[in-house]
Symmetry: C2
Subunit: 139 residues, 2 copies
């Protein structure tokens, strides 16, 4: 096992500063629940962690295939329950590519390798919620 650790320190009201190996992120609630929107809500960070994990896999695999997109974005859409505890029930990952020389079968191969073999965030979330994905080539 590899140990990981993070810490968040209370600033005031609903604002906290996270320390992630020296990188600082302020998180906060929205005004409607007593926060001041000084940073993102905590829950969407679960989608950022997923997007980052799989995107780093995909761009590394594509590089080995000698494929370099001009643009590459990953969007994650999540559905959160309305009842407490308000939690994700599903997430959809949308891989968006733009550029020349982007054979769909290679993109699919890179995405599948991430989803099935390398992305540990995806692997963990699949045990708890419904996960789907889509590949889009932008014009």
């Amino acid at each position: 096992m590899v140990k990981q650790e993070i810490k968040i320190n209370w600033l005031e009201n609903m604002a906290f500063e996270a320390d992630v190996s020296g990188h600082k992120i302020t998180i906060d609630a929205g005004e409607q629940v007593g926060g001041e929107n000084r940073g993102p809500r905590p829950k969407p960070l679960l989608m950022v962690g997923l997007a980052g994990c799989t995107a780093m896999d995909v761009i590394s695999i594509l590089k080995k295939m000698r494929i370099e997109p001009e643009e590459f974005n990953v969007r994650v859409e999540g559905d959160v329950t309305e009842e407490h505890p308000k939690q994700f029930e599903r997430m959809k990952v949308i891989y968006e590519f733009k550029g020349e020389n982007l054979p769909m079968e290679k993109l699919q191969k890179a995405v599948s390798l991430s989803e099935e073999r390398y992305c540990g965030v995806s692997a963990m979330y699949k045990k708890a919620i419904e996960m789907t994905s889509e590949i889009v080539i932008l014009n």
Copy 2:
């Protein structure tokens, strides 16, 4: 269901910029895997999301109980597998309080309410991994 969405855009190499409702976070890999450490790794963001979610619950509940700590930190320790897909197998949440008038039974009540009723991140993770917690009063 409530919809949530985030997007990350590829910057270069392993660096991506996340947009979370207008708040920007740069994420990156470490030098040993082709990144430049321009921001946190994606995986620890799963622990930041958890810490933030439960910390906001706890500080809100304590406020209703008219308890205000001088200091309040939440640390999360996670164990990640060494084999692909490298994923969390357990997380431990450590709630650290400092100040006068911090009755342990009230702190325990606030933490339990978050863990069992309000924190949607905790609720989701419990379906996938082992979750434990601890309350510490700092001198």
